[in-house]
Symmetry: C2
Subunit: 344 residues, 2 copies
C-alpha cells in the first residue's frame, strides 16, 4: 500500500509499505476512505531530526473494515468506521471513566508497529474498543464524510475543551486560536449553550468561519492589546478554551479570565514550565483540559453530525490525493490551508 | 493598645500602637479575644528584609464589636464576631459568586492602614460584609473558641481544598502536608464523605491528630518513595489537596494523582513556574484551588463547629499571651508547636 512517512522536518514522503495484516485476535484492518493532517503533525514537520527509518504519519481516519481478528465480533467486513486519534481497549479503568486517552492498553498510530492514518490502510489494535461504526453507507462521495472524519480528533477535541471548561447555558466563553481545533471549540461551546463566544484569532477566513460556527465576537489583536480588547468587550470571562499551545496563548487566557475562572488547554503545550505561582494562586485560576479522550465523545456528537446540526467538516478547506500529502503539509505549515483532507 | 509588629526575618516585637478608631462609616472596631499565628506568617518570618517601620501582623481573629461606623446596622457593640482572613464588601460581583478573596473592595489586615489581627483590637473595613456574628456568648473561656477561631482561616481553607478538589461521598483523597491547613483538609474531606483519606506527613503528633480527624492512612515517606507508597496503598487517587506550597509537595501530588484527576493547591506556592507541560497535558491533570474565600464558607461550617461535629480548634496546641507572640512564632518556626493561639 501507499502511505505517508516523515523522515525529518519538512520531509514527508509517500511510499510503498507492507499491506497491514491481522496480528492480534482483537485487530481489524481498515481500508481508508479519508484521512487528514493534524495541527500537531506540524510540530515534527517543523522540528523532527532527520532519520533513516522514518515515522508513519497520521492519526485521524475513516474507512471500511476489511478484515477482523478472531476475537472481533461487533465489527464486520464492509462496516464504515471512524477511528479516534488513539486506540484503546474501552474496558480498562480509565476507559470505564471515559478517559480513553489514558487507556492501560492504548497507544498511538504510527508507533509500535501500528500504521499511521495517512495511508491506504491501517491495522487497528483493540478494534472493537477503538472503532465506532457509523450508521451510514460507505460512500466515499458522501457530503457527510468530512464532518464524520472530524470526530476522529478536531471536533471531539474542541468538545473536550468545552466540557472541561464547564461551558453551559448562557456562558461567556473565550476561545484562543482560530485553527481547526479552536473553530471546533466554538461549535462545541455554542452546542453546550454558550451565549457569548469570543474568538481570538487574526486569520480572517478562519475567524469568518468561526463566526458562522457561532462566535459572537472576534479579537484579532494579540498579547496585552488582545487581553485589553477582550476585557473591554466582556469585562473578563469565566471560561477559556486555549487551542494553541504556546506560552503567549496561555498568557492571553490568563489575562482575559476572571478570578475563579477556568482555562482548558487543548493545544499540546510547547513549554514544560508555566505560570502557576502566587499570582495565579491568589486568583483561584483552574487549569484543566488536556488530550481529548475522543473515543468517549464520538457517539455523543454523532447524531448532531448526522442530522447536520453541526458541520465541523467545514474546517477541511482543501482536499489532496494521498500522493500529494506532502503538499498538504506544506500548505498547512504555510497557513495557506486550514486543514488538509487526504483521499487515498 | 499592644500589637505584634514584624521588623524583619525572625524579628517580631509586641509594642504600643494607636487604639483603632472608626475611619469610614462602614468600619467597626473589634476588641480581640483570640488570634493566632498562620503558617503563611512563617514565610516573612524566614525571609522579610529588615525595615524601620515594621508591619502589623496577623489576619485571623475573633473578638467583640466595640464601636461601629454610621453605616453599620447589622452589628452592634458587644457582638461576638469572627473575621475571615481578608476583609470584603460581600456585595461586589466576586463576593456575589462566593469569591470574597477577590473582592473588588477587599484587602488584607496589616496593610493600607488596617491593623493586624495579632493585637488587642482591630479596625475592620466593610465590617458588615466581613465579620460573621457568632450565636454564642462572648465568653473568653468557652471551649468552643479555638474551633470558632479556626473558621477565620485554617478550617475554611481546608474546606476550600476539599470543595475545589470535588471531594464527595466514597472518594479516595490524598492530603499532602500535616500542618494545620492539611489537618483541616482532612476534617473537610471526611465531612464531605471521603471514604479513604491518605495523609502525607512525617510529624507523628500531627499525623496522629490527622488520624483522629479522619485520615485512614499516613505516609511518612517523601519524594519518589512517598509516591510509591501512596500508589501501593491506593493504586493512585483522583483527588489531591496540596497543603504545603513547595515544588516537592506539588511533585508528590502529581506523582500520586491518577490521570484525569484533580490537584487542589492550598499552600501559597513558593515558586513562580511549575510543571504544566506536555506530560501533565497528556494526563489531563486539573490544577485548581487557591486562596480560600473564607467568608463564603463560615456560615456553612459554623453549625458543625457549634454542635461539636468538627473540632478544628484542636490544631491549636499551645496558647501564648499577646506579649509572648514572638515565642509563638519561634515555636512554630522550630516546629515545636503546630499552631499558636494568642490570647490578648
Amino acid at each position: 500500500m501507499r502511505a505517508a512517512v516523515m523522515y525529518g522536518a519538512g520531509d514527508v514522503r509517500v511510499e510503498d509499505r507492507p499491506d497491514p495484516e491481522i496480528v492480534e485476535p482483537n485487530d481489524a484492518t481498515v481500508r481508508t476512505l479519508a484521512s487528514c493532517v493534524c495541527g500537531s503533525d506540524l510540530w515534527p514537520y517543523a522540528s523532527m531530526p532527520a532519520t533513516d527509518t522514518g515515522r508513519p504519519m497520521g492519526h485521524e481516519f475513516l474507512g471500511v473494515v476489511e478484515e477482523t481478528g478472531a476475537d472481533v465480533t461487533a465489527l464486520k467486513t464492509g462496516d464504515l468506521v471512524v477511528a479516534p486519534f488513539t486506540y484503546s481497549d474501552n474496558t480498562c479503568d480509565y476507559c470505564a471513566r471515559g478517559l480513553h486517552i489514558s487507556c492501560r492498553n492504548g497507544g498511538r498510530y504510527g508507533f509500535d508497529g501500528v500504521d499511521g492514518g495517512q495511508g491506504e490502510a491501517v491495522r487497528v489494535p483493540y478494534a472493537e474498543g477503538t472503532l465506532v461504526k457509523l450508521p451510514v453507507a460507505a460512500d466515499a462521495d458522501s457530503a457527510l464524510l468530512p464532518s464524520l472524519l472530524a470526530l476522529s480528533d478536531v471536533m471531539t477535541t474542541g468538545h473536550h475543551g468545552a466540557v472541561t471548561a464547564g461551558v453551559g447555558r448562557g456562558d461567556a466563553v473565550l476561545v484562543v486560536g482560530d485553527g481547526a481545533v479552536g473553530l471546533c471549540a466554538v461549535i462545541a461551546a455554542k452546542r453546550l449553550g454558550a451565549e457569548r463566544i469570543v474568538l481570538a484569532g487574526r486569520h480572517e477566513a478562519r475567524t469568518a468561519l468561526g463566526r458562522e460556527f457561532g462566535a459572537t465576537d472576534v479579537v484579532a489583536e494579540r498579547g496585552e492589546e488582545g487581553v485589553a480588547r477582550i476585557r473591554e468587550l466582556t469585562g473578563g470571562v469565566d471560561k477559556v478554551i486555549e487551542a494553541v499551545g504556546t506560552r503567549q496563548a496561555l498568557g492571553t487566557a490568563l489575562g482575559a479570565v476572571l478570578d475563579g475562572g477556568t482555562i482548558s488547554r487543548l493545544g499540546v503545550p510547547q513549554y514544560e514550565q508555566g505560570p502557576i505561582g502566587p499570582a495565579e494562586f491568589m486568583r483561584n485560576i483552574t487549569l484543566t483540559g488536556g488530550a481529548s479522550p475522543a473515543r468517549a465523545y464520538i457517539e455523543q456528537l454523532l447524531p448532531d453530525v448526522l442530522d447536520g446540526r453541526i458541520t465541523p467538516g467545514r474546517v477541511f478547506d482543501e482536499t489532496f490525493t494521498l500522493d500529494r500529502t506532502p503538499d498538504g503539509y506544506r500548505a498547512m505549515a504555510d497557513r495557506q490551508v486550514l486543514k488538509a483532507l487526504i483521499r487515498p
